[in-house]
Amino acid sequence: MAHRGRLVAQGVAVGLVALLFLLLVWALVTDAGGDLAEAAARGERPEAPDFTLERLDREGELTLSSLRGKAVVLNVWASWCLPCKEEAPFLEQVWREERARGLVVVGLDAKDFRKDARRFARRFDLTFPLVFDGPGDVAADRYGVTGFPETFVVDREGMVLEVFVGGITAAEDRARLRAAVNRALAT
């Protein structure tokens, strides 16, 4: 009887260790953090992780996959981020110039107060869709964002073509973004 009890205890212990191992594997497999930028830099086209987030510019929510068929510039920003202020007018300009061709710029505000984000949008006259990711879960866990801002250019098929880490403020970065947008629109 004691032998059987010991066997059961050993079985439970082995089961627990196996469960923890599976959890670790699952976490590693599902963690996109940082991989998107690296994969895009290698010329691969990783799929843009989908999300549904509350909108800041109007009522309701926005789901990224609902924009399939359009090219998307996903800009991760926060109102307290200095480079975000520098690049915001440029992103608004790109949106206004390219929206007729099928481009959508989506501003993903993370780790921020909603009120501050809306004030930021008014200050820079942003008219593109804005979504709110207060805890930063989508930005950090799905897109691997570690600093602000970061920008992802997604083609019409929902694949990431290029990632910009840091503000798009230098002329060469702005030219690179426009080229990436053209590639995304061409898919």
Partner: protein, 147 residues
């Protein structure tokens, strides 16, 4: 002596009640909330978002919010990760109960093990009869020794 004890307990209860009813302390709140960018408590952080959160706390205190209302407002913006300690309700309660459960399980295990070990080393039961074969051999040995 008894009256003194009752008076002391009453004083402590009243003092605790008076403290809870007062406005929350900004420094205490800053030690209980986490900056979502640098992930240290607000009192340890100078990140822009942490400064913004500190200003928010002061404004809410001035507006008359209590500690829980301020924490709830920040959780509504930044999620529950902004709390330095998990809430003592819902799923967060597990974080408080699990270590206690582990402690109790550990104590029970130690007690059981000690009982088992001391049982092994205990004196032999004097009432327990010897094996007849062994008893016979023992008698023979004794007889030979005495003879």
């Amino acid at each position: 002596m008894r009256a003194l004890l009752v008076a002391l307990v009453a004083f402590l209860v009243l003092a605790a009640g008076a403290q809870a009813a007062g406005p929350p302390n900004a420094a205490d709140l800053e030690a209980e909330l986490v900056c979502p960018v640098c992930e240290t408590t607000l009192d340890q952080s100078d990140a822009p978002v942490a400064q913004r959160m500190k200003a928010f706390i002061r404004v809410r205190i001035a507006a008359g919010d209590n500690e829980q209302e301020i924490k709830d407002a920040l959780v509504a913006e930044f999620g529950s990760g902004v709390l330095a300690t998990p809430p003592k309700r819902g799923f967060g309660l597990l974080a408080w109960l699990l270590p206690l459960g582990a402690l109790v399980a550990g104590v029970i295990t130690v007690v059981l093990l000690v009982q088992r070990w001391s049982g092994r080393r205990g004196p032999p039961d004097p009432e327990r009869p010897l094996d007849p074969d062994l008893e016979r051999r023992l008698d023979e040995e004794l007889a030979r020794f005495e003879g």
